[in-house]
């Protein structure tokens, strides 16, 4: 990591590795989360995101490498600075919502009055105020998700670590979550979130780190990463048989979504010629050159590696 960092790294991993028996979940991972960033940890299922996060949380201990939080080695104490939303959600289902939130507030060191104030504020904010005296198992899945989120922000920590935060949320609540996250960012919080959904990261994050099979593929500011890839991509809105896209001249790769397709252009391809070619064959309702989507960037980066090292360990799902 040679380039100068504009902001102080609040979470820093240096050469972190973790293996389960013979399976290497994370190997030699370097990572620096700038203070105040919304940092996306991206990668497909089983790529080592959750293991990385659990090591930051001091739930797992790395086999090798260093983890620093606010410039101090991570330990049980550093947990106080972090709000954590694990990938696999869980709450004490037999507790009342209010009691449960108070319990976690106390664990984060809040006094009774302060805890009550914050619990009420947050329940209000996520529109669950009238559920305070209901038991957790009376809540719907989505409501439990929101309670779980409150647990992570209740202590008002400077760092927020969210593992797949929007999984299981309906669009309305996903929006609410995004609103809250942006609000927290304006208040100077650092947010580290992991996701396997590239478009989500694209919307939320200003920094990203792509990992694949426990290794970093690329990282940096999102804008810079996409700019580096250039306007080598086109979005084609169309009606008709999209199959024709795959055989069109100058097309390297197609992500066909039915109503529109994202097309990666071969190096030196002529976009205008492509449009002319398509116009005669399908009903093109829109055509725009753009920077490649994160998904394309990722596939490209991983594709390069796969070619270099095709044989690797199998899936690490569930680790």
């Amino acid at each position: 990591m040679a380039e100068a960092e504009p902001r102080q790294a609040i979470v820093r991993l240096t050469g972190v590795s973790k293996a389960y028996g013979t399976v290497r979940a994370v190997s030699g991972l370097d990572l620096a989360v700038p203070e105040g960033a919304v940092y996306g940890l991206l990668g497909p299922n089983g790529s080592g995101k959750t293991t990385t996060i659990r090591m930051i949380m001091n739930i797992l201990v790395p086999d090798a490498g260093r983890i620093e939080i606010q410039n101090r080695p991570a330990n049980a104490k550093s947990k106080d600075a972090i709000g954590y939303l694990p990938e696999e959600r869980g709450l004490y289902t037999k507790m009342k919502v209010g009691d449960l939130l108070h319990f976690f507030a106390e664990l984060k060191g809040l006094g009774k009055a302060e805890a009550t104030r914050r619990v009420n504020d947050w329940l209000e904010r996520v529109e669950l105020a009238e559920w305070r005296d209901k038991k957790i198992n009376e809540l719907s899945k989505g409501m439990q998700q929101k309670i779980q989120f409150i647990v992570s922000v209740l202590g008002d920590p400077p760092i927020l670590i969210l593992d797949e935060p929007s999984s299981g949320l309906d669009p309305v609540n996903a929006n609410l979550l995004r609103e809250i996250l942006l609000e927290l960012r304006t208040r100077g919080k650092t947010i580290l979130l992991s996701t396997h959904r590239m478009e989500e990261a694209e919307r939320l994050c200003d920094h990203i780190c792509l990992i694949h099979r426990g290794e970093k593929v690329l990282d940096g500011e999102l804008a810079a990463i996409r700019a580096a890839a250039g306007k080598s991509s086109a979005r084609v809105d169309y009606r008709g048989d999209g199959g024709v896209l795959r055989t069109a001249p100058g097309v390297a790769e197609v992500d066909d979504y039915g109503n529109y397709a994202e097309v990666r252009l071969a190096p030196g391809a002529d976009a205008a010629a492509l449009l002319r070619y398509l116009a005669g064959r399908i009903d093109v309702t829109g055509f725009a050159l753009q920077e490649p989507t994160l998904n394309q960037v990722f596939l490209q980066a991983v594709g390069g590696r796969e070619a270099a090292a095709p044989a690797a360990a199998g899936s690490r799902e569930g680790r």
């Binding site: 389960y20 028996g21 659990r54 949380m57 001091n58 739930i59 797992l60 201990v61 049980a76 947990k79 106080d80 972090i82 709000g83 954590y84 694990p86 696999e88 959600r89 869980g90 709450l91 004490y92 289902t93 037999k94 507790m95 319990f103 976690f104 106390e106 664990l107 984060k108 779980q148 647990v151 992570s152 202590g155 569930g318 680790r319």
Partner: protein, 426 residues
């Protein structure tokens, strides 16, 4: 530390608020109390029903008056228990008299009839004819009465009578005095049951709370709440808090039981006094304060030792079914302690007994047995407490390391080499 206490508080409150806990805590004393009430009621009722109307054929011609004197017991309601009626007969008329009496017994005129043979002073034999010859209480009283009556007659025949007689029938008592360093004290023999009481109390409390506790450890793992809590507390703090919380709940339960049992015992004692059957109360030992302090301390520490073992099993297994199967060895440890109690009771100061009573898994039962009967030196008592506390700490250290790995593992139960690897992982 404060976080551990916060976890402990939650665990305690959650536990004592469950229906199961309330039911067991209240129900068990209620059942035992009901049983005691039942016994007391039956005993006093049985006394009232034990009235007997007897016909006595005294062929010896001399035992009847003495027998009437012996069987003069009065029932609590002031009536005589036995009504005796002498029926005259000779050896020649006996068969006819017996036949008549049999009919009268069947008709319900008499409860039964006694036939005292002419040679009773030599043979020590008599016959009792009745519809019910299984009323042991009644039979016992009659037999004892006959024995005394015959002895009385013999003494009289030997020329001993009047004021001299009572001293031959005085009840004999043996007073046990235990020799201790601080002089001699009164009977404490009955106190050995304290070890068993503590053992069984622990056993019940563990059966009721241990499994549900272990289940809650497993449940926190399987429903993933553990990871949320671990975001604020380390594994040691979380597990220690849970163990302390459940121990608090267990102590609450035990106190409710012990206090209510003491109340029932007081009730039974009062009832016995009223019924004039207070003999068993002499068995209630006189105990020093150290015994009571030790009882509470050893109960709490003993529970902590076993609860930490349950936590260890909970940390390793990944489903509740597995947990059920794996808890067996833990209860066996406690049963082993109860069995070793027999050895310790006979030789409470042997080296074996001393050593066994210092081992944390056995100390709650065995040290508790030794304290009232063997007067172990203070250092032995305190050492057993310290060892228990150290054992809890060590078990929890290892358990929390296993837990950190186990929490993220699903699937089959790990074998020993895998467990060793888990310890290295964390």
């Amino acid at each position: 530390m404060t976080k551990t206490l916060i976890v402990a508080k939650r665990e305690y409150l959650q536990r004592v608020r469950t229906k199961g806990f309330v039911i067991f805590t209240v129900l068990l004393p209620a059942i035992i109390g009901g049983y005691i009430f039942f016994i007391v009621a039956v005993v006093s009722k049985a006394g009232a029903n034990a009235k007997a109307h007897l016909a006595v054929v005294d062929l010896s011609q001399q035992v009847f008056p003495a027998l009437r004197h012996e069987l003069s017991d009065k029932l609590p309601n002031g009536q005589r228990q036995f009504r005796l009626e002498e029926v005259a007969a000779t050896p020649a008329t006996l068969p006819a008299v017996e036949a008549r009496l049999r009919k009268q017994v069947l008709a319900g005129k008499y409860t039964g009839f006694l036939v005292i043979p002419a040679d009773v002073l030599q043979s020590n034999l008599a016959q009792y004819h009745a519809k019910n010859v299984a009323n042991f209480n009644l039979l016992g009283t009659m037999e004892h009465g006959l024995e005394s009556a015959v002895t009385r007659v013999r003494l009289k025949n030997a020329g001993i009578a009047g004021a001299q007689l009572p001293q031959f029938f005085a009840t004999f008592h043996l007073h046990e005095l235990k020799v201790t360093a601080s002089g001699e004290s009164k009977n404490t023999g009955g106190a050995v049951v304290l070890g068993y009481i503590l053992g069984f109390l622990l056993y019940f409390v563990l059966i009721i709370n241990g499994v549900t506790f272990m289940r809650s450890v497993v449940e926190e793992k399987t429903n993933r709440v553990a990871e949320v809590v671990l975001a604020s507390v380390d594994a040691f703090g979380l597990l220690m808090g849970k163990v302390i919380g459940v121990a608090g709940a267990a102590l609450t339960q035990a106190l409710v039981w012990v206090v209510s049992l003491a109340l029932f015992a007081a009730y039974a004692g009062a009832a016995s006094l009223a019924a004039g059957k207070a003999g068993w109360m002499k068995q209630v030992p006189h105990l020093g304060p150290m015994v009571y302090v030790s009882f509470v301390v050893l109960f709490l520490l003993g529970f902590l030792v076993y609860a930490s073992l349950y936590a260890a099993v909970g940390a390793i297994v990944s489903s509740e079914q597995e947990a059920q199967q794996s808890q067996m060895p833990i209860t066996l440890l406690l049963v082993a302690a109860l069995l070793m109690g027999f050895t310790v009771l006979t030789t409470p100061n042997s080296i074996l007994a001393v050593v066994l009573s210092e081992i944390p898994f056995f100390a709650p039962v065995l040290m508790m047995m030794r304290i009232p009967i063997a007067n172990p030196p203070l250092w032995q008592i305190v050492l057993s407490w310290v060892l228990c506390a150290v054992a809890v700490w060590l078990i929890m250290k290892v358990t929390s390391r296993l837990y950190r790995v186990g929490i993220l593992m699903t699937g089959k139960r790990p074998n020993l080499p895998e467990l060793m690897r888990w310890l290295r992982y964390s």
